[in-house]
Amino acid sequence: MLHLGSFQQLQNQTASSALASAETRDWPARFRELAASARDHRLKAFYSAGVASADTPLAAVPLMALDIETTGLDPVRDGIVSIGLVPMRLQRIRASQSRLWIVKPRVPLVEESVSLHGITHSQIESAPDLIDILDDFLAAIAGHVLVVHCRAIERQFLNGALQARIGEAIEFPVIDTMELEARLHRCKPPGLIARLFGGRPLPSIRLAASRRRYGLPRYRLHHALTDALASAELLQAQIAHRFSPETALGELWK
């Protein structure tokens, strides 16, 4: 995912939602509603596959790490250039089943984002439109709980792309590894002393910094598959250190 200017705002959104009382959404029920109301057959199929209930222990949840690379950070003006998926369970990250799609955004490419993703103009020129791979993509994630680092980006961009193409929004539960870090580092308001003296800067909850705290290796980020794998590994580490295989899914997802 991109880390440009407004990233701080997205982090703040994440941090404040962490502070808010945990959303207790009934995702299976919501999926049933959406399966009934969706007009697009692909979306209908996606919702019909259902989703694990909030009380499912983490060890039993089929998960899917997702990363989307975009031309910029504005879901309205910018578009998706690649989507990476890595299926996983708590016990194992199925890197061997990784999927990558390069897609042609409906907006022109900016030079800097091109160099950041390592995707070239010619690759994108010859790539399909998202609508052409939507079937495959939705089939791949159906039945899984998505794992992302910074859910605002993935949600907003997928939503925007679908609105523009099929005139419908998409909703899905995610486990956000950034939000899990934010719970740890951003939830307590700084104490008096810290406020008086400026305090220590808060630890970064970006992907690379978060991974470092769990002893995970340094990856060259900003490739959809690498980032998806990086988030998958981070989630395993977070659960190994802070949760347990019996923890209910509802404690993590949003």
Binding site: A95, S96, Q97, T226, L229, E233, A237, A240
Partner: protein, 625 residues
């Protein structure tokens, strides 16, 4: 078709078992990898569970255990485990635990098996039989320095031209012309049809000129009158290099080659030229040219330079050990000559002994002087000891000035206990062997590696015969020797920049002599004594031991490889120290070792450790060998 994880591919590419894979195979492996994170302290695999994947450590650290719970190995980034289980019964053989937070790459069993079966480099790299890997390493090295490690037998082009000792000078001259040779071996007249002839002497063109023609003797003079008797000779399995030193030391240009005391050929100096290693020859000849201890002491730099050059030329440890031993021996011989010049001729015959690594021809540059004096049985302390005491001091002080530090254990000819008549030495050895105690043998083990350097060297042969006769099959003695040979154990291996001990402790350096070569030669000595081997060099002893078939199959070769490898690393480390202007020692810091050296050293340590267990089992007190 699944998409490629570049991080996984790039990581694998950096590590040895994968680095040699063809790109296509590598990508296939990378695409098969799954990933799992383990928090520090958690169990990764349990003994006996189904082995489903081969594990590669992506980050963090992992401890591998034996079934009995003792530490087997400690791995870090790029390390791998689980191959043993995959190749045997598909059950986990060694349980593993995350020592630090660890990320593992898991390669599924079918992919691993296919790689192992179809890719030789890969199989070599991960081969679970540690010894096999070391064997491959050593044979590659041996190929590389074949010329340096060749034995004399490769130089023998034809059977020796021989003549009976009752033949005449003219017979000899005719025979030499017919055969086109410049020397003839003269042999005892064989009893018809019995044993092959024994060598009596050598006759050369030069002998005919100097001893016959110039002396005005008749052509019918028997060859036995003009030949050189008991010529210097070499054994067929000695190194080419040693033959060269022999020629130089004795100033002869032809050397008969013997096998089981029978001549099988003759080699000439010209044959040796292409194998020449001028370095040590130069040093040895310099030693014998020196007129004073000062002159000898000034050669220390040359000795070190010679050592460094041999290392650069990729000489084997055996060759370097033997060159350094010849140089050490030459120093002693020249010092004894100088001592006799200064003190006058000795009042009684004596023999100067080299002990320990020099006797085994495994000397390096950092070495103690271990020596002793055997005196004639007519020795009377009051009448003769002033002379021998002075002689011993002259030599030992001289050696100290030439870079051979005095022995901290006092095993030197200057020590009155080790300056005794032959019968006392016989008594010492009889006592050590017949009434052994671990303590008495601890101090005396060094005497079981002995070599005569100067004087009545036949006494050494007598002592050695006595040792062999009394030690062979003496269960109590062998058990004591074996017990002492187990006192120094190898470490488990390396982890990051530390040496890891079997109990998990860490240290920053390892003494490769104390923890590697010394226990190896101790162990080899016990087996050699048990079979009555007369060899002194550890490699030669090993050959005798292998021939005697007392070790489990293949283990003798393993020990050979282990000794060669540890010695090589030790030698290289000393050469590096010299190059860096540091005083060389036997201590090695893991950070100076390559991954390859670490892996191979660990293999060698494992072999030593297994062999020590076997030694303990084989020489139990009360057990008849």
């Amino acid at each position: 078709m699944h998409d490629e994880q570049l991080e996984i591919l790039d990581f694998l590419r950096r590590y040895p078992p994968f680095a040699e894979l063809p790109e296509e195979a590598l990508q296939q492996v990378a695409r098969s990898v799954d990933v799992r994170y383990f928090k520090a302290g958690t169990r990764i695999v349990e003994f006996g569970e189904a082995a489903l994947a081969w594990h590669v450590v992506r980050s963090g650290a992992v401890e591998i255990f034996r079934r009995n719970g003792t530490l087997y190995n400690r791995l870090t980034e790029g390390g791998y485990f689980g191959e043993f289980g995959l190749l045997h019964r598909k059950r986990v053989r060694f349980p593993a635990t995350a020592l630090e937070d660890t990320l593992l790459y898991l390669i599924p069993e079918p992919v691993f098996t296919e790689l192992f079966e179809n890719n030789e480099h890969f199989a070599d790299a991960v081969e679970i039989e540690d010894r096999t890997r070391l064997r491959q390493v050593m044979s590659r090295r041996e190929d590389a320095n074949q010329l340096m490690s060749a034995t004399v037998s490769v130089l023998i082009g034809r059977a020796p031209v021989m003549l009976g000792c009752r033949a005449t000078a003219i017979d000899a001259a005719r025979r030499m012309s017919e055969e086109g040779v410049s020397s003839l071996l003269i042999v005892d007249e064989p009893m018809a049809g019995l044993a092959p002839p024994r060598m009596a002497g050598v006759i050369t063109d030069r002998d005919i000129r100097i001893r016959l023609v110039a002396e005005g003797l008749g052509f019918d003079t028997p060859v036995s009158e003009i030949m050189s008797c008991d010529p210097v000779s070499v054994e067929h399995n000695q190194l080419v290099f040693e033959a060269m030193l022999q020629m130089l030391r004795n100033n002869v240009h032809h050397l008969p080659v013997l096998k089981h005391q029978r001549p099988i050929g003759v080699i000439a100096l010209s044959d040796l030229l292409r194998y020449e290693s001028r370095n040590s020859l130069f040093v040895v000849s310099s030693i014998f040219r020196q007129r004073s201890v000062d002159g000898l002491a000034a050669l220390t730099g040359d000795v070190r330079a010679c050592f460094s050059r041999m290392v650069t030329e990729d000489a084997s440890s055996r060759m370097i050990g033997s060159a350094m031993a010849v140089i050490g021996r030459s120093f002693k011989q020249r010092l004894l000559e100088l001592a006799e010049e200064q003190l006058g001729p000795p009042p009684l015959p004596y023999c100067f002994l080299a002990l320990g690594s020099m006797a085994r021809q495994e000397q390096l540059i950092v070495t103690d002087q271990d020596n002793a004096l055997v005196l004639d049985n007519r020795f009377e302390p009051a009448r003769h000891d002033d002379y021998f005491k002075a002689l011993a001091s002259f030599v030992c002080d001289g050696l100290a000035r030439c870079g051979y530090s005095t022995c901290t254990g006092g095993v030197m000819a200057t020590n009155v206990k080790w300056r005794q008549p032959l019968r006392q030495w016989q008594r010492y050895f009889s006592e050590w062997i017949e009434q052994p105690t671990p303590q008495s043998l601890l101090d005396s083990a060094i005497f079981f590696d002995l070599d005569g350097v100067w004087g009545e060297t036949k006494w050494v042969d007598e002592l050695q015969t006595l040792i062999v006769r009394k030690a062979k099959g003496n269960a109590r003695f062998l058990a004591c020797m074996a017990r002492n040979a187990l006192l120094r154990t190898p470490p488990l291996g390396f982890f990051k920049d530390f040496v890891v001990e079997s109990d998990g402790r860490h240290s920053g350096a390892i003494n490769l002599k104390r923890r590697g070569t010394a226990p190896l030669s101790d162990l080899i000595r016990v087996h050699a004594l048990a079979i009555g081997s007369l060899s002194r060099n550890s490699f030669e002893r090993l050959r005798d031991i292998i021939d005697a078939e007392i070790l489990p199959r293949g283990r003798g070769q393993d020990l050979h490889d282990a000794l060669e490898f540890v010695s090589t690393v030790r030698i290289r480390n000393q050469a590096d120290d010299l190059a860096a202007g540091i005083d060389p020692d036997n201590s090695i810091e893991p950070e100076s070792l390559s991954d390859f050296e670490r892996k191979s050293l660990r293999d060698a340590f494992l072999i030593l450790s297994h062999s020590q267990k076997y030694l303990k089992y084989r020489y139990q007190p009360g057990r008849t060998a």
